[in-house]
Symmetry: C4
Subunit: 193 residues, 4 copies
């Protein structure tokens, strides 16, 4: 089966997800700088989501790069990941348009959490096919970074019922934690050369 | 002629179709969890259509993979398929926004049925070029799965005039039936190795 | 320079153009079959434009396939073509939403005419680089089909001031004329084998 | 790492950016030629932005073509560039819908300026990896053209507080200055053959 086409399709979907979020940056009605101010929450959530989709694209890039084969299960695990990522624009918009109201921050966190779970499922599916001693399995190891992220998302979701600003700070911390591409795989590639 | 470009273009269109359906997930006006409830029918139809477009992408992937040559007829049969698939977002939205009203479920079924017909035409066109004893022809065989789907769609369309929920159940059953990528072609690929 | 990337970018733009036209198929407010009727002019113009973009994608495919090199001039001639094609969705929507009013049909024709001119410019630019005795130059010959189309577009534009239905018929005739992929290039490819 | 996928993703994002600007060409309410007049400022800003995105696609094409390796830093420098370019449609729309009001022209200039800075960062990142004597480093030289553009953007931003038409003229001049693909790299490629 054809890994290239899987990558191309995923790139297409991710490129569109990252770009349709721009459509939420609705043109302000006034023509002065002040009118831009009302866009600020929308803009801040756009930046946060842009970084997140960028992170997923980066890690997806590394993940598939290290996959040796593609089968039906991987195709569906990949579509499952794209499904949750496709909900990022709508949840970003909801959060931005209501000035980070509590419920919107909770829902945003749920989408991030489910995306993280879907990424883990995709990762596990790829490792299953290549076997436990595969390149990817060794590079990922116990996937501490992935597990920490998921715990942090869960924490942020619970916290959002009381104080959404702490939750937003947690989302930002997780994003910064992943800003560097998955160096475990990169290191592994270098070692293997 | 160039199969890669045909795949790339189809991937592009399918990626966009799957993603613009998200645009229908309009941001709720309120900022509470309750406000999400009104999105439920839209969300459920989004999931159903997401699965359908995913299935088509998967099977399209397999179909073109097994094609050995591409000519003008295949290009147009492919565009014809993309045309019907491109109507999925609008019919999904219509269905979702009117809480699965009868007529909307009928129209959704017609779009699914025509997409299935278009897929069969593309399949037949590819087999025609490669000859009746081609790899694809043997893998597909009598295409029982395809024919059953079309009969089920027709049934669902008729039933939708009386009870749309049964029709929706049928659409779901067909989707589940196809959730696994076309194992006939996959098996054939394995056998041929 | 890299022909693949030029094709990929063009495919992306064309895939998006063909798909955003769907966004104009706005969900009818009612939930009955009758409510679909009001969509009819929009739907008919969608089909016409879908065919046109399909034709351009097909011919663009053939044209670039026969190009041996890509330089800065070709990049810009290609962008110029994409510019005019990018106006098709808006002019289609204008035409569809005003039930083929005269002025809308004229503007639609102007966009088609300019796209045809842009295609000729791209074609000429590619031939210039490869030389007058190139593969493409011989395949195109005097480009009678291209010239006839342009004359027909001009005729339709003028006629649209008096009777837009004749103009629409002409647009349809030109479309049918091109529905087959450019067999001149295809023949040439076969001969050269 | 995989340069192809970086190019594919960037092409996808750029193709979508260039195309969603079309969505701003909202269908006029009337059906006469006069009704098109109100679209004129939107249309003019569409053309300007189309040229700019085209220029960035062209130069991005050349830049990555000359990169020998891709690492995590380049991925993020590239996403940073795409971020600023993704703001072009919204700022174009704001400018077009308010008939080039002063503040809108300023903001448009800021987006162009930041995009230029992001491009320089990407360029520098690529040169860093390949070393100061790399192919790209020599082709770019002191990057006079890039520096002049940035000075001109800054000038235009300041001028826009007093007279936005001069700023627009400057944006146009910079665009024309870049309309030819980066001949420094092209020349270098020819020399090296």
């Amino acid at each position: 089966m054809n890994k290239t086409r899987l990558e191309a399709f995923s790139d297409g979907v991710l490129a569109i997800i990252i770009t349709i979020m721009v459509l939420e940056l609705k043109v302000p009605e006034g023509e002065n700088f002040n009118d831009l101010l009302s866009l600020l929450p929308v803009f801040v959530s756009y930046i946060l989501s842009f970084i997140y989709v960028g992170i997923y694209w980066n890690n997806h890039h590394h993940l598939l790069h290290s996959a040796t084969r593609v089968n039906g299960k991987i195709l569906w695990a990949n579509l499952h990941l794209l499904f949750w990522l496709s909900l990022i624009p709508a949840s970003t918009a909801w959060m931005g348009e209501h000035d980070f109201a509590k419920a919107t921050v909770t829902v945003y966190g749920v989408v991030l959490f489910m995306s993280a779970i879907a990424f883990t499922i995709l990762q596990t599916t790829i490792i299953c096919i290549d076997g436990g001693k595969s390149f990817l399995a060794e590079a990922i190891g116990k996937d501490v970074k992935g597990k920490i992220s998921q715990v942090l998302y869960l924490t942020a979701i619970i916290v959002s019922f009381f104080n959404q600003w702490i939750s937003l700070a947690i989302y930002l911390i997780v994003a910064l934690m992943w800003l560097v591409p998955d160096s475990r795989i990169e290191k592994k590639i270098l070692e293997s050369k």
